[in-house]
């Protein structure tokens, strides 16, 4: 009896490790951002609508904001656009867009046709700012608190459900969250 007990225990342990690994696989496929809890990366980008007023990281201080990285070539961005417009209507958190590796004309046409959810849009043509933000696939959305700290990051299309369960509670909890 005893000689089977140890291998059996070993097998049970292995099984437990594999089951936990499998269960956690979906959340593990989303990579955590090292930026969470850190001040936003410094940047200054040309403004899509107004050449004279650049969009910079200093404008992210003093209020909550949502930084949304998008591009007209990005299919998922079209999928989330409706949700961004809803967030704009809520008028609780202004959205700053970073238009990533795109053409100004394309971006302007896109916003004209689908509506503009952004308070300001910076144009990142060579992709440098996106790299500083650790972006690896659009769309990505960052929640920034009034102190200018990155609080949360969502990779993939924004949905009302994600907005309500992950973003709004953090805003409601206050700047310390």
């Amino acid at each position: 009896m005893n000689r089977f007990l140890l291998p059996l225990a070993g097998f049970a342990l292995l099984l437990a490790v594999l089951v936990v690994g499998l269960k956690r696989a979906p959340e593990k496929s989303i990579l955590p951002s090292p930026l969470i809890g850190k001040p936003v990366p410094q940047f200054t980008l040309p403004n899509l609508f107004d050449n004279t007023q650049p969009v910079s990281s200093s404008s992210l201080k003093g209020h909550w904001s949502l930084v949304n990285v998008w591009g007209t070539w990005c299919v998922e961005c079209r999928a989330e656009h409706e949700v961004l417009l809803q967030i704009k209507q809520e008028a609780r958190v202004p959205i700053i867009g970073i238009d990533w590796k795109d053409q100004n004309e394309d971006a302007l046409t896109w916003l004209e046709q689908l509506g503009n959810p952004y308070e300001r849009v910076g144009t990142d043509r060579d992709g440098r700012v996106a790299i500083d933000w650790g972006v690896y696939g659009a769309p990505e959305s960052f929640l920034i608190n009034p102190a200018g700290t990155v609080v949360y990051k969502h990779i993939g299309a924004m949905t009302s459900q994600v907005w309500q369960s992950e973003f709004l509670p953090r805003v409601a909890a206050g700047p310390g969250a």
Binding site: L31, P32, S33, P34, L35, K101, D126, G127, R128, I131, D132, W133, G134, Y136, G137
Partner: protein, 146 residues
């Protein structure tokens, strides 16, 4: 013979395809070029996660190769360039996990498991050897024949 020629054609055609990913001109010195080669092979392309920066054809990999190149030209050390990437994309961008305390279990576990295996093996062999001793003692001490 004709088949051989046809196969040779196919091989030549395919080998040409694999070359064209990184088309940037070489760096000014062979040392820098070698470091560039090594770094772009040990940094992961974040979009197509099992490929290295050097082998990936997606836009982000090209942008990151440009950054590696610029940092090399700016005089950064290999470690500084790795840190630069980790600060933005996290440890995951390194194909080879760093030897830091947080990764201790990762580096330590194989050695530990090997030691456990060796210990178990040694005990099994010793137990078997003792069995043989007992059997031999039994067969010499007493005749089994009727």
């Amino acid at each position: 013979m004709r088949l051989c020629a046809a196969l040779a054609c196919v091989v030549v055609a395919l080998s040409g395809v694999a070359l064209a990913v990184d088309t940037t001109p070489p760096l000014p010195t062979p040392v820098l070029q070698q470091r560039y080669y090594e770094l772009t092979h040990e940094l992961r392309c974040m979009q197509c996660q099992s490929e290295a920066l050097a082998d990936s054809s997606v836009g982000l990999a090209a942008d990151l190769r440009v950054q590696v190149r610029e940092l090399l030209l700016a005089g950064d050390s290999d470690d500084q360039i790795r840190d630069h990437m980790v600060a933005r994309y996290g440890e995951f961008i390194l194909f080879r996990p760093r030897m830091i305390w947080r990764n201790a279990w990762l580096w330590g576990a194989p050695t530990l498991l090997m030691l456990v295996g060796a210990l178990v093996g040694w005990r099994v062999v010793r137990a078997r050897a003792r069995l043989v001793d007992i059997e031999e003692a039994g067969s010499t001490g007493e005749s089994l024949e009727p």
